[in-house]
Subunit: 398 residues, 2 copies
């Protein structure tokens, strides 16, 4: 299949770069800066309908932290628009002054004015708070925020491998297992907190790379979401669960570290992870990436398994383009092109901006809202921003 | 639409009765009695693939209790097959001797040998344990089991309206709300524990009827899953959430009590609930009952909202037939016929028996398994058994 692929000329790269730039700066970011700000309490409304109207004032901790990070990143790397910095500061103040709980815990959801609605027995809200503080410290030139980020990262690390510390109960019949999500997010946090300096946290980075690799099975070309503590496979629905978009995201997290550490072997492995997960996850009938698969060919238990979600496609866009920039091989360019074509013909909403989040297997929109408990100002703009910057470089080099 | 409907003649009722009998006794019940028994530990395997093979040995407390209830009910009301009673006793022993936790709590999931995997901060596993004990006490002629059921029901009642008693945390930003599920299941439990005698628990029955009615909005012809403590509407995704199949199930639970209490007004209201929920829930494009809707016409948050699940259809079959048996009106017969035609042409698996559980909006099977964490030997055989008995009566009266 890859044999017939034509590698991009400079004009192709220019056209792509312009499309990603336009989508990011004229459709996606304006949707959030226009509709999400809570001018009364600070922070952002997350539940935004198709046209941006607020359909629920409940806020979500993952998405508050992620939006702070994204706006601060745009301010620091794209354009020093005061609006972006002010909004990022507003979100961080909302989280720190109204939401933060004793011991560094952060609610998963909260009222518009910051009272906790639900606190997860997980670590992810706190992870995204670390991202927020770290990037904002650089955008705002405030080193005290970076110290706060480092302190919170230390707490997150101390909880990460034993969730009973964040209140998760432990039962005698549980099958001990490791989750891919944990070392993945820690790799991303450390990259952001250190701004990619591999000297800080080097032991932690090595440990997270080791843990991610426990999930990668070269013989079957698969990345399992859950494995036994020693990395062996678990023959259960959890143990067989594949999430191609998540594995692809893990691939580019690993690739960033492989490049920073100058590790060619790891870079090659990261390319493989993306290629394998794309090959198995791509729906040969209707196109797009399936959300969940079962490694044994059974039906995965989650009801949304065959749906097409926005974020795996966003992750795949950047992962393929990044891999192409390294390998210059047709396989990666073809995968990028295929993902780009399906994604841009299904997810964006040209009328009101931003992307739909949830499609059925055939690619029809099932949920019209643009923002909800798990979809905010993050995966779409992050992928567009990452691709845009990379396309600029590829264009310059062409 | 109903004007053109022909009410059934005796021959139609005979043919239907035979079809329901055959489906129950030759397809559905044999699937579970053949494939689910755990001969080593007692109880039942719940995770059964399309052909009945066990794809995971984890057991699920809701489904263990429900299967005990169903098998005991069949033994007592259909045929005194020793296999049915032995299997029911095996499930009850497994739950009581291996799974029951201090204070009458019961795990949501457990290993094959009964060690807790997860304990929900809800009351439903215990509810289905009450069902199991109550019906088995009658099937096995063991009054001590009924006393156990009554004691467990007393505990469930004491927890039912304040889930902090089963470990659910309470947060300052939560919107106080009532869940339709709680008074509904209590009405069903009391019916089963008392074998329908309205004199026992009469105050509790009245209270549950009052609470269910708080969710019924006559002006908009809707039943909301969650309402404020005083029954007023909550303008949020939870507050707008409709689950037509669940409302239809509430309709027949109420109808049973209306008949037992001789309350014509309540009987009429129960018919209305079923008709309204069916009218709004029926998918005019692809047929079948949608899983979730939003009363404001927004997209409901659950990702599986537009899917077609087996259990709302099973509930609707019996609810419509029950209402027809009372009203003898074409509207109810037409609703039954429409549900019957769509259900029988989409859910049953003639090759291996039982029904598929999960279809996409168009009616295509998305998950091939017959048993999973929430689907067991319950809704399908219960609906077939209820319809079959009612069809026998209608046939005799015709």
């Amino acid at each position: 299949m890859a044999g017939a692929v034509t590698l991009p000329a400079r004009a192709d790269l220019s056209a792509l770069r312009r499309r990603y730039e336009t989508e990011l700066l004229e459709s996606v970011v304006p949707f959030w800066t226009r509709h999400s700000p809570d001018r009364v309490n600070g922070g952002y409304f997350n539940c935004l309908d198709r046209d941006g109207s607020v359909y629920d004032t409940t806020k979500f901790g993952w998405l508050q932290g992620r939006q702070v990070w994204m706006l601060a990143k745009l301010y620091r790397t794209v354009d020093q628009r005061p609006e972006w910095l002010e909004l990022a500061l507003s979100g961080a103040r909302f989280l720190r002054e109204r939401c933060l709980l004793p011991g560094g815990r952060m609610p998963f959801s909260m009222t518009a004015d910051g009272r906790a609605v639900y606190v997860q027995r997980k670590i992810f809200t706190e992870c995204f708070y670390v991202l927020a503080l770290a990037e904002l410290s650089r955008a705002a030139g405030d080193p005290s925020l970076l110290r706060e980020a480092e302190e919170e990262l230390e707490r997150v690390w101390s909880w990460a491998f034993d969730w009973t510390k964040v209140g998760r109960p432990s039962y005698p019949g549980e099958t001990p297992k490791r989750s891919l999500a944990v070392p993945m997010i820690l790799l991303n946090l450390i990259e952001e907190v250190t701004d990619g300096d591999p000297r800080r946290y080097s032991a932690e980075v090595e440990e997270c790379i080791r843990l991610v690799r426990l999930h990668v099975k070269k013989d079957t070309r698969r990345v399992h979401e859950y494995v036994a503590p020693d990395g062996s496979l678990i023959d259960s629905p959890d143990g067989r669960l594949l999430n191609p978009g998540h594995a692809i995201e893990a691939g580019w997290f690993l690739q960033h570290w492989a490049r920073r550490l100058g590790r060619e072997d790891l870079s090659r492995e990261a390319v493989d992870i993306v290629r394998w997960s794309f090959a198995e996850g791509w729906d040969q009938v209707h196109g797009g990436l399936s959300y969940f698969l079962d490694a044994g060919g059974l039906s995965p238990l989650p009801l949304e398994s065959s749906m097409k979600l926005w974020w795996p496609h966003a992750e795949a866009l950047y992962a393929h383009l990044l891999d192409y920039s390294i390998t210059r091989e047709a396989a990666d360019w073809e995968a990028f092109q295929r993902t780009d074509a399906w994604t841009f013909s299904h997810f964006p909403d040209p009328k009101y901006g931003e992307w739909y989040g949830y499609l059925d297997r055939r690619g029809e929109v099932t949920h019209r809202f643009k923002g909800g408990p798990y979809k905010g100002c993050f995966h779409v703009p992050r992928a567009l921003w990452l691709c845009w910057r990379l396309l600029q470089r590829l264009e310059a080099e062409a």
